[in-house]
Symmetry: C2
Subunit: 122 residues, 2 copies
DNA sequence: CATCATCAATTACATCTGTAATCGTAAGCC
DNA sequence: GGCTTACGATTACAGATGTAATTGATGATG
């Protein structure tokens, strides 16, 4: 099942730290989203039915924690984009950003380092 | 406005070749999608209202062509993913795929070539 | 104990998306 | 010129999504 945009904001919060209460998450998302607490609770419930998170009772309330791993989510999302737009490969995406002059110095340095690392690995 | 998944399939067809009739597009998408012609027409109409394409009359029918450029669409989609998941930068995405051992030989060769090219460019 | 506050659970409702079917119209055919 | 056909335009309808409000239960408080 798919994680929606709004749901992913809640997931990011849980990946940052967990387990957490609905109120706590609502307070945290408030910096970027203009959401009522009720909205956050709806999103948490949808994530529960999607089995992306679990809830454990803590007195009169619940604490939520991710089941889905961020790295897996990141990978699935990225792979889907690469498949749809870049023949499933990483390099064409980098080439695209290179052509658009959208590679930062930091990016270039890091890419160089990665290539070196890969070279050393064999 | 956002281009949906199904709509992007139609866009890809128009980017491949244009202008084209609805029937022609339907025939082309049939290889990958199990769509009725009516479905393709709905998608074309939604793309029209989103100003992603235009239509010009050709006798009793229309021929459609993209307004939105593929490169711009690709860039917007990619940037959105990078912003949400990789601090807006390309290198962390490459690092992720590197860690997952998901870089093909072709990728690595091309990345090396890109870095070299960038180096030579200054 | 009656009341209030606090949670989660349930319900709501508009918009977007996927996937068509139906309607209306004009062009071609007998 | 009526009848069929081939289009686009309009309408349909269920599920996902964004964004809550309302209800119901339970623990805290006077």
């Amino acid at each position: 099942m798919q994680i929606s945009e709004a749901e992913s904001v809640v997931m990011e919060e849980l990946w940052r730290e967990s387990p957490r209460s609905a109120d706590d998450i609502a307070r945290a998302t408030a910096t970027s989203q203009d959401w009522q607490v009720a909205t956050v609770k709806t999103l948490l419930n949808r994530l529960l039915t999607k089995k992306a998170i679990t809830a454990e009772q803590d007195g009169r309330r619940y604490l939520y924690r991710p089941l889905l791993k961020r790295a897996d989510y990141v990978h699935a999302s990225s792979k889907s984009l690469l498949d749809r737009l870049f023949e499933g490969r990483v390099a064409p995406l980098v080439a695209h950003f290179s052509e658009r002059k959208k590679l930062s110095k930091k990016d270039i340095a890091e890419l160089r380092r990665l290539i070196e690392e890969i070279d050393n690995d064999r």
